[in-house]
């Protein structure tokens, strides 16, 4: 055993009683005294440490490092920003894998390539032969650094102790960071081989290896060996070179596209030129696409693929066991064993992970490409044929902070159609709707920041006749841009729309307003569509170019989903051919206040990307957007761009108490008319282009992308209601906006005084908007929000900018506008803060007190409720016959 290499942590493993084995020429721990099963479970439940210092660490530097790497790796190296990592494969000339690897960009001008320990020598021989053709060097720095994987739901908080509370990395997978931990330089990657949604690989100088290992154990992590590393990666469905990649049990090389991760690891970007294996990989990719469309007519290029496999009969599958479909041998198990998991009970967000554990016989298999999910096959286990099934996956990680085992369940039978009496159901519905209305309007304190209630006048108008009608209209140039209405009976609504446009122009302070859009997202889609149409207006003979680059607030940092590629931007955003990703770049945020845009860093981004569209606006918002500063900068730098402000939540705060977007230099404003604004649920678009501006043509495009682009029916009932709401806003905005901002600040301070962790800057009372954000503990948001709802306080749980996703939410997001409208003042918000603290911190039942507090506030303010109006509304109601 003395010829074997030892890592910097060897002594610690031996001291802990680890069983050591030869792994790729290294003496490594296969398990510690706890055993593989316990080590696997502790990773899924808490945090395990893996010594991965045996893996090859290669540094690539030099002027031609990018062309070299583009030639020897399957991935697009230019898709890697600074502080990002990517999974990649080292291909051979035949499109098969020499090794799989991870590429890290910790520094601007060099790359770190981490390869499998067993293949390090082979990889170096292969790469060294090629690097001589490039102005580039590869240095094996394996000995100089140690590498420790820290994996599991508690990994983040444990590492945060060492970083002194500083966020270890950005929350997305593959993020990198270099930071100090207790005075030592540490490089951290949000990567790993266990499939855990929270997991890191930490690189330290060799002399710091033992310090890091011991500190992590002090903080509650436990060591785990290669045995658990294998069961964890198997459950996660991750390939292991030598099993799922390399050669099959018959010795035949396996095509790279046999592994599903190839879709992400292989790029055919032009920048990669004719890289090693490109041609066979392109043929494999074409074959892969056919197979994914269930065209099995020619599987010669990709005859077999790696699939997950679950044993149905009693037994254990192992690598090498043949798999049959009827009499036909269709492949082999490539990896298999018994894997433990924690049982769960309950459904959806209420799923509870139990302490009780079980085991399942699962694996990965290299099977004929026409094998489908849910197919039943047989595995030959030492001469006996046992039944197995092909599940879609063994595990899912879209509900962080836990990895969730997915137990195979055959598709459920569809329930029989419900055939009860519809008349009875109709009566039921009225009853249920009545109860719900009663509950929300008289018992609940509604703090969802995107919600509000409308005045009686607005609601009655919304329910009156135009609600069932159409009023399509278009400007005709022959008539000097006069609108022509297609239908009869539209004189009233024509006047209404003109009056509404007038009121909104006054409110927003701009030249033109479009009111036919019926939601905030639709407003944004109409604007994006217009910008794209306008961009291509001089060339209608080719497929239109999409928008790019676009600068926005990332959804993780509180940006609205509308401005993300997943939202309204979806079909309008270009893909950058260099990075092969959406041409979107995000506003950087301040290190000491993640809710605030960092203007100086933004200027660097603007200089680098020169985006053609800048979208301000957020849905988790505590601060004004720096519109004026950015407008000044893009003007000074002559960056041709459109500045759009999706005001969404804060449309009702346009004015002296918040911001005046057009005065600050915005070109386009969109918004939701029902959040802080008093209206029913609709959207609106405002622009400040005058008839003499070139961009007035863009405005005319916006009008046509609204109608006929986005609507045919523009919901006349609520448009009528919106006019009343606009009168209300324009009349009462000064008192209302002042009250909202004051109440929000006061509410925030009271919650803080009650012992809650309020987000934002204490120096400006935590908020400049209607929103207040409270952190209640990582991952506990959903449960706390539910408990508050049981007590009739309605808020929403939300992930903060440094949390992974909504199931890991640690915050509550609240808005004061609706309750301000019902007359809540400072005292009332103070009382509410007390009740909330009682519920959140002391789990008290406060539902009775909440109802009492609400009961005193059911009259709406900031609307016309003098005698004349009340009389008029009574008459109107009578007339409506409702």
């Amino acid at each position: 055993m003395s010829d074997l290499k030892r890592t910097q942590l060897y002594d610690l493993h031996v001291l802990s009683g680890a069983s050591m084995v030869d792994f790729g020429g290294w003496e490594m721990p296969i398990q510690y005294p706890a055993g593989i099963v316990a080590e696997h479970l502790y990773t899924r439940h808490a945090c395990s440490l893996f010594d991965v210092s045996h893996m090859g660490r290669l540094l690539i530097k030099g002027a031609e490092r990018v062309p070299f790497l583009q030639h020897v790796l399957t991935s697009n190296v230019m898709a890697l920003d600074l502080n990002q990592a990517q999974y990649c494969i080292i291909p051979d000339e035949n499109g098969c894998a020499v090794d799989d690897a991870y590429l890290y960009r910790f520094e601007e001008d060099q790359f770190l390539l981490v390869v499998n320990a067993a293949n390090t020598e082979k990889d170096l021989v292969h790469l060294t032969k090629i690097v001589s053709r490039y102005d580039c060097t590869i240095t094996d720095i394996t000995k100089d650094y140690a590498s420790i994987a820290v994996q599991g739901p508690k990994s983040r908080e444990i590492l945060a102790v060492l970083s002194g509370g500083e966020a270890v990395t950005e929350p997305m997978k593959n993020a990198l960071n270099t930071l100090q931990m207790e005075g030592r330089t540490v490089r951290v990657a949000k990567t790993g081989y266990t499939g855990e949604p929270l997991g890191y690989e930490v690189f330290v100088a060799s002399e710091d290896a033992q310090w890091l290992w011991n500190r992590l154990i002090e903080l509650g992590a436990r060591p785990a060996g290669l045995g658990a590393r294998d069961t964890l990666r198997l459950e996660a469905g991750l390939p292991l070179y030598g099993h799922e990649m390399g050669v099959d049990p018959d010795g035949v090389p396996m095509p790279i596209f046999a592994v599903s991760l190839a879709r992400f690891a292989v790029s055919f970007s032009e920048q990669k030129g004719n890289y090693i294996g490109r041609e066979p990989l392109e043929r494999q990719y074409a074959a892969f696409k056919k197979i994914m469309s269930r065209d099995f007519s020619d599987m010669s290029v990709l005859p077999r693929r790696i699939q997950p496999i679950t044993l149905v009969d009693r037994g254990v599958m192992r690598g090498g066991m043949p798999v049959y479909r009827g009499d036909e041998m269709i492949g082999w198990v490539t990896s298999g064993t018994m894997v433990p998991y924690y049982r769960h009970e309950g459904e959806g967000l209420a799923t509870k992970i139990l302490d009780d554990t079980a085991k399942r016989a699962i694996g990965l298999a290299y099977l004929s490409s026409d094998v489908l999910e849910d197919d039943v096959v047989e595995v030959d286990i030492r001469g006996k044929r046992l039944k197995a099934v092909i599940p879609p996956y063994h595990m899912r990680v879209d509900a962080p902070p836990f990895a969730r085992p997915i137990l195979y369940k055959p598709a459920e039978q569809e329930a029989d159609a419900d055939t009860g009496s519809r008349a009875a159901k109709a009566l039921d519905l009225i009853q249920m709707a009545s109860e719900n209305h009663q509950w929300r309007q008289t018992c609940c304190i509604n703090l969802i920041p995107s919600e509000n209630s409308a005045s009686r006048a607005v609601q009655l108008l919304c329910a009156s006749d135009p609600a069932f009608r159409y009023a399509e209209h278009k400007k005709i140039k022959s008539f000097y841009d006069q609108d022509v209405f297609y239908y009869q009976g539209t004189r009233f609504i024509d006047r209404v729309e003109q009056m509404l446009v007038e009121q909104m122009k006054q409110y927003l302070g701009c030249c033109e307003v479009e009111t036919r859009v019926i939601s905030g997202q639709m407003s944004n889609m109409a604007v994006f569509s217009s910008l794209m149409d306008w961009k291509n207006r001089l060339d209608r003979k080719h497929t239109p170019k999409r928008l790019g680059y676009v600068l926005n607030n990332h959804i993780i940092k509180g940006g609205h989903l509308s401005a993300q590629p997943m939202g309204a931007l979806h079909d309008y955003i270009a893909v950058d051919p260099v990075t092969e990703r959406s041409a979107v770049v995000n506003f950087p945020v301040c290190k000491d206040n993640i809710y605030k845009i960092d203007v100086e860093e933004t200027k660097k981004v603007l200089e680098k990307y020169r985006p053609e569209l800048i979208i301000f606006g957020k849905s988790m918002v505590l601060h004004r957007e720096p519109v004026a500063a950015i407008r000044q900068f893009v003007n000074e730098q002559h960056i041709p761009t459109t500045i759009m402000y999706d005001m969404a939540h804060v449309l009702g705060l346009v004015g002296d108490h918040f911001q005046k977007p057009f005065e600050e230099g915005a070109d386009i404003v969109t918004g939701s008319t029902h959040k802080t604004f008093f209206g029913p649920q609709r959207g609106v678009i405002g622009v400040n282009y005058k008839k003499s501006d070139l961009e007035y043509g863009l405005w005319e495009t916006i009008e046509t992308r609204a109608f006929p682009g986005s609507v045919s029916n523009h919901h006349l009932g609520t448009q009528l209601g919106l006019l009343m709401a606009a009168y209300e806003m324009n009349t009462f905005k000064d008192e209302y906006q002042r009250a909202v901002v004051e109440n929000a600040k006061h509410f925030a301070k009271c919650l803080k005084a009650q012992g809650l962790d309020v987000a934002g800057d204490p120096a400006n009372d935590y908020t400049e908007t209607h929103q207040v954000i409270v952190s209640v503990g990582y991952g506990t948001g959903p449960e706390v929000a539910d408990r508050l709802e049981q007590n009739n306080i309605i808020v929403n749980y939300q992930a903060t900018p440094d949390e992974e996703g909504f199931t890991a939410s640690g915050a509550l997001r609240m808005g004061v506008s609706e309750m301000t409208r019902f007359g809540f003042g400072k005292e009332d918000f103070g009382k509410l803060a007390e009740l909330m603290a009682d519920c959140i911190l002391r789990a008290k039942d406060v539902s009775g007190d909440v109802e009492k507090l609400r009961a005193g506030h059911t009259t709406m303010r900031y609307c016309f409720n003098d005698e004349k109006m009340q009389e008029a509304l009574e008459g109107f109601l009578g007339q409506l016959g409702l």
Binding site: I36, G227, T231, V316, T337, M338, P340
Partner: protein
């Protein structure tokens, strides 16, 4: 490592205890420690014939399969069905978690006493 004095042991690391005419058989502490976590067991059926020196079933750990070698010849009278759902009992209680009971004994392997077996294990560890 435990080597209870009242049991007999085979060189292949099974233990035997005579309960009247019935041989109760399991695996030793040394065996479970070498195996690591036992995750699965294949048991014979009641009524099966077993032969001294031949496999009567197998245990699977996370990493490998190991045959269970029978120290005696005879007929299986009873199998410990608890082990089917909880094979880990072989790790936590190797001398309490018996595997099979054999009656009608017609032969046996050379069996060691506790001290002899402990010596065999000491050599095996080097």
């Amino acid at each position: 490592m435990n080597y209870p004095a009242d049991l007999k042991y085979s060189k292949s690391h099974e233990w035997v205890k005579m309960d009247g005419d019935v041989a109760v058989i399991g695996i030793s502490d040394f065996a479970q420690d070498s195996l690591g976590d036992v995750v699965f067991i294949n048991l014979p059926q009641e009524g099966d014939t077993v032969s001294a020196g031949e496999a009567f079933g197998d245990v699977e750990s996370v990493k490998a399969v190991s045959d269970l070698v029978c120290p005696v010849s005879g007929t299986v009278r009873e199998v410990n069905e608890e082990l089917l759902d909880a094979p880990e009992k072989l790790n936590s209680d190797p001398y309490g978690a018996w595997i099979i009971k054999v009656e009608g004994i017609t032969g046996q392997e050379e069996l060691l006493d506790a001290a002899e077996y402990e010596a065999v294990c000491a050599v095996a560890e080097d």
